[in-house]
């Protein structure tokens, strides 16, 4: 059982901001790192600069936005099948 007054890691908003900042820095580093690593592309698309970064970013944004739209069609109340 935790003490009620005990402060936890993410109770402090600054720590949340630090995590986000670290993510931004890591993204930047991995973006730049491609200049120093030879990728041995098996397909021409892989040789597009930062193909994996852009593909990851774009498909995930698309995934979330499409899923959000999909909610209009498929979301139902929890007791939908009990009626």
């Amino acid at each position: 059982m935790t003490e009620p007054e005990k402060k936890h890691l993410f109770d402090d908003q600054r720590n949340v901001k630090r995590v986000v900042l670290i993510l931004f820095v890591l993204c930047g580093l991995s973006f730049v790192a491609e200049m120093f690593v030879h990728l041995h592309p098996k397909h021409p698309w892989e040789s597009v600069f930062n193909f994996y970064s852009l593909y990851g970013l774009m498909t995930c944004i698309m995934l979330v936005l499409i899923a959000k739209m999909l909610r209009f069609f498929i979301m139902r109340r929890e007791d939908y099948y009990d009626e």
């Binding site: 986000v20 991995s30 397909h43 892989e46 994996y52 990851g56 979330v64 959000k68 139902r76």
Partner: protein
């Protein structure tokens, strides 16, 4: 080696003995079963054993080769972890180790159901002919049902029945396929079948139900989200992996599987992302992982097949770990829905770490197990120049990181504090998760150990600078997308709701159609039957009028009357005679 028992028999015998042991003796006995089973299994060398003659057929109960031994190994390991995870269960309601006994269900029936279920799954892995396969296939359909029913709720009972119906349907189709195959090729050996003729299609369909092919997949999210916490750990481990095994053995290189796998991997991501019930989410992410394996089997090259079965091995452990984590959360808090959870890292920090390890493994973070296995299939797909399939799998890799790697972990442990009073789960559950987490990291850091067990020689190096970098790029930018969408408030929040899926057809459309049919044709049917009944009654009345007690045809005459008429007739004859 005939001094060894068939591997499945150890579990069946254990299920017979376990009920007669005292609770403490049973705990030790249950833990020893998978260890004994593994020792027994490894005493076999490659070959066929326990052949039985039945009519003109020869059944081969144990066929050992690299593929069956690999799946046998992971099944025994998973059995040990799942049994350890379930050891705290008790048959007495007030004897729970701090959890919610009403959620966890009674111990005995779950342990026995679990043992029989594992035995059936192991039976399939070592079956050398199609009849043995069918017998264990049906046993595996029936034996785990108590793991769902033990929950004791109405919804669990209904989900259990739906689960049973789907599994039995798979068995019936398999039997039809086997009979057709015997007519087509005159053999019942369980080897490569391929998509030739009616039998090939039917058997693939039967396997497809268990492997969660698109539109046949809904039994998994349905049953896994209604089972007991322990039940979902057992269920998520064996049924679908057995399906991957039989597909790898019988349908390697079948092209349609490439596309089926890609659809499984990429399409249900949306459902996973929108699921509020986190065990349902895990079931969808399990199907996502199965899709990658099915795709690898469809490609059929040694690299792809190695990738598929290696991924089955790794995913059994990390998927089990994630189900164990959510089972622990459910046991300790009584909740498993995203809209009701949050901030649990404060009270369940160890469980949170196990969840992070499972999430890292399923997301293929380098040095965790998924990275070393998933990449083999992806490499094989691009080598065979299936560009769109490769893009779909890459999308699936990023997607699984979003819904399981981030959403599930964040929603359970790190999002807004739901102020739930909770403790870490019982020690046995923690140890089970620790062992699974250990193997996730071991396979991730030293994949050579797993590669050495694969059916084909492995010439693959996962830790190249290019591969590590591109994987980090994919994941980091996926995480960036999540962060940006979350900060801007565009990420769909968890709300108490369900999402329509293929189950809508048999849970809603079919009952509604039957209801409509009855409403429309009911009155017509009633009128027709009433008209018929009225006509029949009229006929009866007419007959009654003529033949009834008062009827003309039933009127009786006295003997005197008869004599008078006879006398009259004789007089008429006499008179006529004299004329």
């Amino acid at each position: 080696m005939m001094s060894s028992l068939p591997p499945f028999l150890i579990f069946f015998l254990a299920a017979l003995i376990a009920p007669f042991l005292s609770p403490w003796a049973r705990k030790g006995f249950l833990l020893a079963v998978p260890i004994l089973g593994a020792v027994n299994m490894f005493s076999f060398t490659n070959g066929s054993y326990y052949s039985i003659e039945v009519f003109e057929f020869t059944l081969s109960l144990v066929r050992v080769d690299k593929l069956s031994l690999l799946f046998g190994t992971i099944f025994h390991l998973a059995a040990f972890i799942a049994i350890l995870y379930s050891l705290h269960l008790s048959d007495r309601e007030n004897d729970s180790a701090g959890g919610h006994p009403d959620i966890e269900g009674p111990a005995s029936i779950q342990h026995i159901s679990g043992l029989l279920y594992i035995g059936s799954a192991v039976g399939i892995i070592f079956a050398g002919d199609l009849i043995s396969l069918f017998i264990f296939w049906e046993l595996m359909a029936v034996t785990p049902i108590l793991l769902v029913l033990a929950r004791g709720t109405d919804s669990a009972r209904n989900a259990g029945m739906r689960y049973l119906l789907m599994q039995i349907t798979s068995g019936v189709i398999l039997l039809t396929g086997i009979i057709a195959r015997y007519h087509e090729v005159g053999s019942l050996s369980f080897d490569h079948i391929g998509l030739n003729g009616l039998s090939g299609t039917l058997i693939l369909l039967a396997f497809g139900i268990k492997a969660c092919f698109p539109l046949l997949h809904n039994w998994a999210p349905d049953a896994y989200s209604e089972a007991t916490p322990t039940g979902s750990v057992f269920l998520s481990t064996f049924t679908t992996k057995t399906a991957i095994y039989v597909l790898a053995r019988s349908y390697a290189g079948t092209e349609i599987l490439i596309y089926i796998g890609a659809i499984m991997a990429a399409l249900l991501i949306f459902h996973a992302l929108l699921s509020n019930d986190y065990r349902r989410l895990l079931a969808y992410s399990l199907i996502n992982q199965l899709g990658i394996m099915v795709c690898g089997i469809g490609i059929g090259t040694p690299l792809a097949l190695n990738g598929a079965v290696a991924h089955a091995f790794a995913s059994t452990i990390y998927q089990g770990l994630l189900f164990m984590v959510m089972g622990s959360v459910m046991t300790m808090t009584g909740r498993v829905k995203g809209s009701e959870l949050g901030g649990l890292y404060k009270s369940m920090p160890r469980t949170a770490i196990f969840c992070l390890i499972g999430a890292a493994s399923i997301s293929s973070v380098p040095l965790f197990s998924g990275f070393a296995t998933k990449a083999m299939t992806l490499s094989a797909v691009i080598e065979q120049e299936y560009l769109y399939v490769w893009l779909a799998l890459l999308f699936a890799s990023a997607g699984v990181f979003i819904h399981t790697g981030i959403k599930l972990t964040y929603g359970t442990f790190f999002s807004h504090d739901a102020e739930i009073q909770a403790e870490e789960p019982p020690l046995n559950m923690q140890f089970a998760m620790l062992i699974a987490a250990f193997f996730c990291i071991l396979i991730g850091c030293a994949p050579g150990l797993l590669y050495g067990m694969l059916p084909f020689a492995v010439d693959y190096e996962p830790f190249t600078a290019a591969h590590v970098l591109t994987q980090y790029q994919l994941l980091l930018f996926a995480a960036l997308a999540f962060t940006l969408l979350k900060i801007s408030g565009m990420f769909p929040p968890d709300t108490p709701s369900i999402n329509l899926d293929a189950e809508w057809t048999y849970r809603r459309a079919l009952p509604r159609t039957v209801h409509w049919f009855i409403q429309v044709f009911g009155p017509l049917d009633r009128w027709f039957r009433n008209t018929c009944i009225r006509q029949i009654e009229r006929c009866i009345n007419i007959i009654f009028r003529h033949h009834g007690p008062e009827g003309m045809m039933a009127r009786a005459s006295s003997a005197g009357n008869m004599m008078l008429w006879v006398t009259l007739l004789l007089i008429v004859f006499l008179v006529l005679n004299y004329l």
